[in-house]
């Protein structure tokens, strides 16, 4: 079958050399070929260093080339053909962390603000809660005094002033659970004519008590008790639900009800002595990783940023801020300086924006680490990084 002297990988095939393996994966078809023989691995990587996408088939087992052809990873080339063919199997960020550290103030602000995707203001001092398991619920509790609510409101006002520079901001999420804080920020958001999407996140009991107030607003109602949901199903016509569940039976029951009533919802598992639930329903297998229909860039990005967390900022009522609900806070906002504040989200050791699998134990040696979903908050809660059944 393969009698030509060269084999060229398609430009969007993912190629990776790790721990003596060469892995070639076509994200469009889900086909994967893993080469283990050390001589072949060396030959392939030497060829790729020179020709970018092309390998010499001389001295490579014919079966390897045939399997690559069969898996639709590329095509053969004749001798005499121009051999250097660019591919997209690399990622370069021009305004990368090193550049930003040395950037002039002139460009710094505009670059930093472009990287913000989501700002979450939580009217509770959840970063002070040392138990990250308890943090799963604490942002729904009302422990924000009036003084802190005003401080948070003032911070929000400052963020709104730079709103038009936050060109990639998808939403401003406000987690509120008391009427004083709600009115304080609602008034301000209305007055300032905020153009970005503002989403209020409310605990169920608070929503039920005042649900007339939340009409014509983007609202997500957080529910931890399925029974409470069933008792108040008629209240959710305008709101989206986020049902936090710890048990698979609850999950099934809730989805049946909500699907039937055509209510918008998302389901979020929470960690509560239930690792089995995660092992059965959340952990990934090789089949989940080697899936069809992904883009090469999506895979390569997993080696650069944590796409679950990148661009997200969480700020609590003590003005502590971080990049993940369950990570350590990066610091406290004292005097609001946009550049310093945002730069710390890039640089801090507690920032999770760059926490990728190639930096954490177990996953760093896994050949699928870039193909695997990014590290999530569940991994801090379960105290293990590899939520998978591949490397145990």
């Amino acid at each position: 079958m393969s009698c030509e002297k060269y084999f060229c990988f398609y430009s969007d095939v993912y190629l990776k050399k790790i721990n003596g393996f060469v892995l070639a994966f076509n994200p469009n078809t889900g086909n994967i070929v893993e080469v283990k023989d050390s001589n072949t691995v060396d030959r392939i990587s030497n060829s790729l260093d020179v020709f970018n996408s092309v390998i010499s088939t001389l001295d490579i087992d014919k079966a390897v080339i045939d399997s690559m052809l069969k898996c639709n990873l590329g095509y053969t080339l004749k001798e005499g053909h121009k051999l250097f063919i660019p591919n997209s199997n690399f990622l370069k960020i021009e305004y990368n962390l090193n550049i930003l550290k040395e950037a002039e103030v002139r460009i710094l602000g505009s670059v930093l603000t472009k990287n913000i995707k989501e700002i979450n203001l939580i009217f509770s001092n959840f970063y002070s809660e040392k138990s990250i398991h308890k943090r799963q619920k604490i942002y729904l509790e009302s422990n924000c005094n009036k003084h802190n609510a005003i401080r948070l409101r003032n911070l929000l006002e400052q963020l709104i002033r730079i709103e038009r520079h936050l060109v990639n901001l998808v939403s401003l999420n406000l987690y509120v659970s008391d009427m004083h804080s709600f009115k304080l920020i609602k008034e301000m958001v209305d007055k300032e004519k905020v153009r970005i999407k503002v989403v209020f996140h409310l605990p169920l009991h608070f929503y039920i008590l005042h649900y007339g107030e939340f009409k014509k607003m983007s609202v997500v109602v957080h529910i931890f008790e399925l029974k409470m949901l069933i008792d108040h199903l008629d209240c959710f016509t305008n709101a989206e639900l986020n049902l936090h569940f710890s048990d698979f039976n609850n999950y099934t029951e809730a989805t049946l009800i909500l699907d039937e009533l055509r209510i918008n919802y998302v389901m979020t598992p929470y960690v509560f002595s239930n690792e089995r639930l995660f092992q059965q329903h959340v952990f990934v297998d090789k089949e989940d990783i080697v899936t069809v229909g992904r883009e090469l860039k999506e895979i390569l990005s997993n080696g650069v940023i944590n796409k679950n967390d990148f661009g997200k900022i969480f700020i609590d009522s003590d003005l502590n801020y971080g990049t993940n609900l369950y990570s350590k806070p990066i610091g406290t906002i004292d005097q609001f300086n946009v550049n310093e504040f945002l730069l710390s989200c890039f640089e801090s050791e507690y920032s999770t924006w760059f926490l990728t699998r190639n930096k954490v134990d177990v996953c760093c040696n896994c050949k699928y680490n870039e193909m695997c979903p990014p590290i999530s908050g569940y991994e801090y809660l379960l105290d293990r990084y590899n939520l998978c059944n591949i490397l145990k």
Binding site: K82, N89, K297
Partner: protein, 413 residues
């Protein structure tokens, strides 16, 4: 589906159809101005040189008639007050952000009195919240006389020099004589007596034409002054038809494919180079709505006040369109009208850009091919691309490390 490989390329124009339906909003242009990098003043239309290829000379017709006018300082002060106002109401991002104040001409050093008055005005009227950097593009003939002031005010100087004596021979004195020796001596004087200033504040710009090439110019300036120039081609817009033969002769048709071009080729033909981390969340730019041509957001880089009070978004474009005006009373920019005018031209450019084989390596500004308010055919428009692509691939094949080196080391920020 894999992209089909055609002619060894990772893509071909048959396979990727770029979407050029992007347009501007008035707010976007206003925001660009509020956060602009530089405010430029054309102090005078007079010059002490008469270069053969001067964009304001006989060979071009799109910069309006030059009457040897000088800028009325009250217009400059009006613009400064206006800019100070809008930069102040803009976001906190502007705080501590340097603003460049640029002086152009003609030859700006012919009007040192005006330069000093503008510098004084800024120092007296602008609060310290902006770090102001004064800059100037000059032919350097009056450099020696003014070096003490430039040094004192830490002016950033961009000096025009096309290389050695032969390379520089299009840059003629008004009398027709050679300007090279006077400039060379001035540069050597500053290099000798103001070495720190020379090292840190002086840069060179070279126009590339048939009497030089980037490699030769760079070698010369590195050897003589330890500096690499930025190289630019002859201005292509507004060339008088009757002089187009002369222009073609002066163009450097054998210019190397620069590192910048190669880097741009990699960026456009692969999905590997991105400006910001956030871009990793979005589809490749080939899948987005693009603004036709390679134009920037007007005023986002600079605002240029001409000697006659006309406002332009850049000194490199002609006065074909009305962007605004400064008079003795006020600054007049109608953002809505301006946006509509630009968007109308962009709508006309859309199909041209969609069908152009150069659309992935375009570096043309929309305003470079507007004449009498109408859009003309872009000088770079072509439907044949194979030659350029093959030349690039040949370079990569010749030097296998080039691709990787450019990706890893080259940065055009």
């Amino acid at each position: 589906m894999n992209l089909k490989l055609n002619n060894q390329l990772p893509y071909s124009n048959e396979e990727i159809k770029l979407d050029f339906s992007g347009r501007f909003f008035p707010e976007q242009i206003k925001l660009g101005l509020e956060n602009t990098i530089a405010i430029n003043f054309e102090l005078t239309e007079k010059c002490n040189l008469k270069c053969d290829y001067c964009a304001y000379g006989n060979m071009y017709n799109n910069y309006g008639i030059r009457h040897e006018r000088d800028l009325d300082l009250s217009l400059a002060f009006n613009l400064l007050d206006y800019m100070h106002g809008i930069m102040n109401i803009s976001s906190k991002l502007n705080k501590n952000k340097p603003v460049y104040i640029g002086f152009y001409g003609g030859e700006p050093t012919l009007k040192m009195d005006k330069i000093k008055e503008i510098v004084n005005y800024i120092e007296s009227n602008w609060s310290n919240q902006y770090a102001v950097i004064f800059s100037m593009t000059t032919n350097g003939l009056l450099l020696k006389q003014n070096i003490t002031y430039f040094n004192q005010k830490e002016f950033e100087l961009l000096i025009s020099i096309d290389g050695n004596k032969e390379n520089n021979s299009y840059r003629k004195l008004k009398s027709g004589g050679d300007s090279y020796l006077a400039l060379y001596n001035n540069l050597k004087f500053v290099q000798k007596y103001y070495p720190l200033y020379f090292d840190t504040h002086i840069n060179f710009n070279s126009v590339i034409h048939d009497k030089n090439n980037p490699t030769e110019v760079t070698d010369f300036l590195l050897r003589e002054f330890g500096k690499k120039p930025s190289c630019s081609p002859l201005s292509q817009s507004g060339v008088e038809e009757c002089l187009s033969e002369k222009f073609k002769k002066m163009q450097n048709n054998n210019a190397d494919i620069s590192k910048h071009d190669l880097y741009k080729f990699i960026r456009n033909s692969t999905d590997g180079i991105h400006k910001n981390y956030i871009d990793l969340f979005y589809p490749h730019w080939t899948k987005r709505r693009l603004i036709p041509t390679a134009m920037c957001i007007p005023f986002s880089r600079r605002i240029h006040l001409c000697a006659d009070g006309t406002i332009l978004p850049c000194e490199k474009i002609g006065k074909e369109l009305s962007f605004g005006k400064v008079d003795k009373e006020s600054v007049k920019i109608n953002f809505v009208e301006l946006t509509n005018t630009i968007n109308l031209l962009l709508s006309k450019a859309e199909s041209m850009c969609t069908n152009c084989s150069n659309n992935m390596k375009c570096n043309k500004c929309l305003f470079q091919f507007v004449k009498d308010g109408q859009l003309k055919l872009c000088p770079d428009f072509t439907t044949e691309n194979d030659e350029y692509f093959n030349n690039v691939l040949r370079l990569f094949s010749k030097d296998h490390k080039l691709f990787k080196t450019l990706v890893e080391e080259y940065n055009e920020l």
